[in-house]
Structures are given as structure tokens and as C-alpha cells.
Subunit: 205 residues, 2 copies
């Protein structure tokens, strides 16, 4: 059991988790992921920081819980990129991406995307996820092989989010009903091009 | 002044246009654009068909009014494709697309997209627009040069809608702040590839 300075008022309160999540959403929406400390979230929620660790673990885990994402995409991206490096990365990423989206989390993922796209204040969700989980993960794995990863990642995101829109939201045919391997074969090379095209002349990131 | 069979009840009613638009939205959401006749919309709205022609012109115009699109994208697409054919079409389409989206209609376009992506019942809007205006236009202009345009168009849509999401909704950098010519140079080749890649082995459209 976590210690708390205000145990009498907060510990055991069934709303405490909800208050922590609400405070985290407010602060993550205002500032960058890195600028928001666990201590500040604790102060905002009126609880001891140890209670956040107790309920949610790390700041990463708290962030994923705050945006209600059913899974953490970062380890998946890291595993796919490590298994072969840049060569053929586009096909492997598309295969893994479609497998996740076609799987049991589809409804929850769609709910996160719909909310993020329709409410301007919630767009921070996908942007933070992209900037602080995905881009960092790609930099960790491919940083010594590929230059200016944030630039390339924003182009890759434009294709990947577009696939979500076309296949899962608008259900445009035939993209909506093609197999994972057909999408990997057709869209994979787009991602490979964004990973390897010259970008040094584009505006600085 | 348009004639109407129920002039006493409907003509001059300030709500008549709104009723016609509401009826059109209900019917377009249920069936395909082509299956919905002007006569059926008139019956649903309780007005004479001539009144719809009087207020809205053609069925195309009524559709655009019903989905509140500030402009008709089809003539723009036709003009861009006619000016040069398949060669370099991707760059020209991206240049025109970004010019429209960066222009005075941006807020209204964003409202249509946000609504279409967040409300499942409204996704018909973008799907119908895509299938019955854009794909048909591309087929009219490039049909004798390019095979299986509906298949290619759904891939192009996945990149173009993704650019809208990344640049205008999530505002991912640097895609959000690159110039029209930088986006044409980087994303144009993706569209060109979707226009020319082999697709005969993909699922039938």
C-alpha cells in the first residue's frame, strides 16, 4: 500500500484514480509530456506522488492510462524496427500496424482516434503520443542509420493516420477490405521512401 | 418562382430549405448518392421536386449543400489532371490541394472533416464525396490512361486524408509548417506511385 501525506482524506477514495487521471489530462494538454512532472500531477490532483506510482507505475503508464489507449505502441514499433533495421521496415511496420488494428483493440483504438480528431483540445493526445513515444522509439532504434527522424516520422504519420481514416473510419474500398499483406506490399514502400528520401533541404524540425 | 403542389403550406416557408437539406442528409446517409432521387428527397421533405431545383439546382449541388462543403472539389481535380495528364499529377494535385486547404475555406473544410471522422453516421459524407465526385472525376479524365482507378484512388485518399490529419488537425511538425512546394515534392511522388503501381493482383473493387 502506498504511503500518502493526506491518507485520511485521499487514501481509499474510489475517485482518487479518476482525479489523478483528470489532473494528468489537464496538464498533458497544457504542456509537453516531458515538462509535466509526476509531482506536479500529484499536486494538481491533491494526492501524494507515491500514490500515483502505486496506482499507475511510471509516467509513461500514467500517460497511456490518461489517454485511454488500450496498449503501448512503442514496444511494438521498437521490436519491428530491431528485426531487420531500415531495409524493408515499411512492410514490417505496416504488417504489424494492421495486425494490431484488425485485432481485439480496434474499437478502443478507434474511440481514441475519433476523440482526438474531433475535439481540438484532445488532439494533444495523438500528438504527444506521436512525439514522445513513437518518434523517440524510432530514434532509439534507427538513430545511427537514419538522419532527421522527426521530419521523416511526420511524413510516415501522415500516411499511417490516413490509412486509419480510409480503412477503419470511412471504410473506402478496396483499402477497407485488403489483407494485411496487400497493404504491406502497397503502402510499405511509401513508408520506406519517407525513411530514406533526402530531407536535409526541408524546414528545420 | 418555383411551382409547388402544396404552395399554401410550403412555399415561402423559411424552414423549407432546412427541411430539404435535412431530408437529403437522412437519405444520402442511408443509401448511395445515385440511388437517392430528387423526387424521393422531395417526398421526404414534403415539397414539390421543382422547389428543390429552384433552391439548390442539381443533385450534385444539393449534395454539396447537404454536407456543408464550402466548395466543390471535383472541378479542381479535373482541371489539375487535365493540365498534364498522369505525368507529374501527384505534385500538381498536392500543390492544388494544399492551396485550397491553406486558403479561406480551411475552417469550414476542417469542420466537415471533423464531423465526418467523429460521427460514424456522418462518415457517409466523405465516403460519398470521394466515391461519387472524386473517383468519377478521375475516371473521366484519366480513364483511358490508367486502369482500376477506384483501387488507386482509395490509396491516394489514404495519403491525402492523412495529410489533412497530420497538418491541419494534429499539427505534427514539420508537416504542419512546410510550404506547398515542399509537400508537393515529398508527397507528390507517393500519389504518382499509387497512380502507376501494379494493382491487377489486388482484391477486386
Amino acid at each position: 500500500m502506498a504511503r500518502t501525506k493526506r491518507a485520511g482524506r485521499r487514501t481509499g477514495n474510489p475517485d482518487t484514480k479518476a482525479e489523478i487521471l483528470a489532473a494528468a489530462r489537464r496538464l498533458f494538454a497544457e504542456g509537453s509530456f516531458e515538462a509535466v512532472s509526476m509531482r506536479r500531477i500529484a499536486t494538481e490532483a491533491g494526492v501524494d506522488p507515491s500514490l500515483i506510482h502505486h496506482y499507475f507505475g511510471s509516467k509513461d503508464d500514467l500517460f497511456l492510462a490518461a489517454i485511454e489507449l488500450p496498449m503501448d505502441p512503442a514496444p511494438e514499433v521498437a521490436a519491428v524496427l530491431k528485426a531487420g533495421g531500415v531495409e524493408g521496415a515499411g512492410e514490417r511496420l505496416m504488417t504489424a500496424f494492421v495486425a494490431i488494428w484488425d485485432g481485439p483493440h480496434q474499437d478502443k483504438l478507434l474511440a481514441v482516434v475519433r476523440t482526438s480528431l474531433s475535439k481540438p483540445a484532445m488532439s494533444f493526445v495523438l500528438r504527444q503520443l506521436f512525439e514522445h513515444r513513437i518518434v523517440k522509439t524510432v530514434e532509439d532504434v534507427l538513430g545511427d542509420q537514419v538522419d532527421r527522424i522527426p521530419v521523416r516520422a511526420s511524413f510516415i504519420a501522415s500516411q499511417v493516420f490516413g490509412l486509419v481514416v480510409a480503412r477503419y473510419i470511412l471504410k473506402l474500398e478496396p483499402v477497407a477490405s485488403l489483407s494485411s499483406s496487400e497493404l504491406a506490399e502497397t503502402i510499405g514502400p511509401t513508408i520506406d521512401r519517407y525513411l530514406t528520401m533526402p530531407v536535409e533541404h526541408l524546414a528545420k524540425d
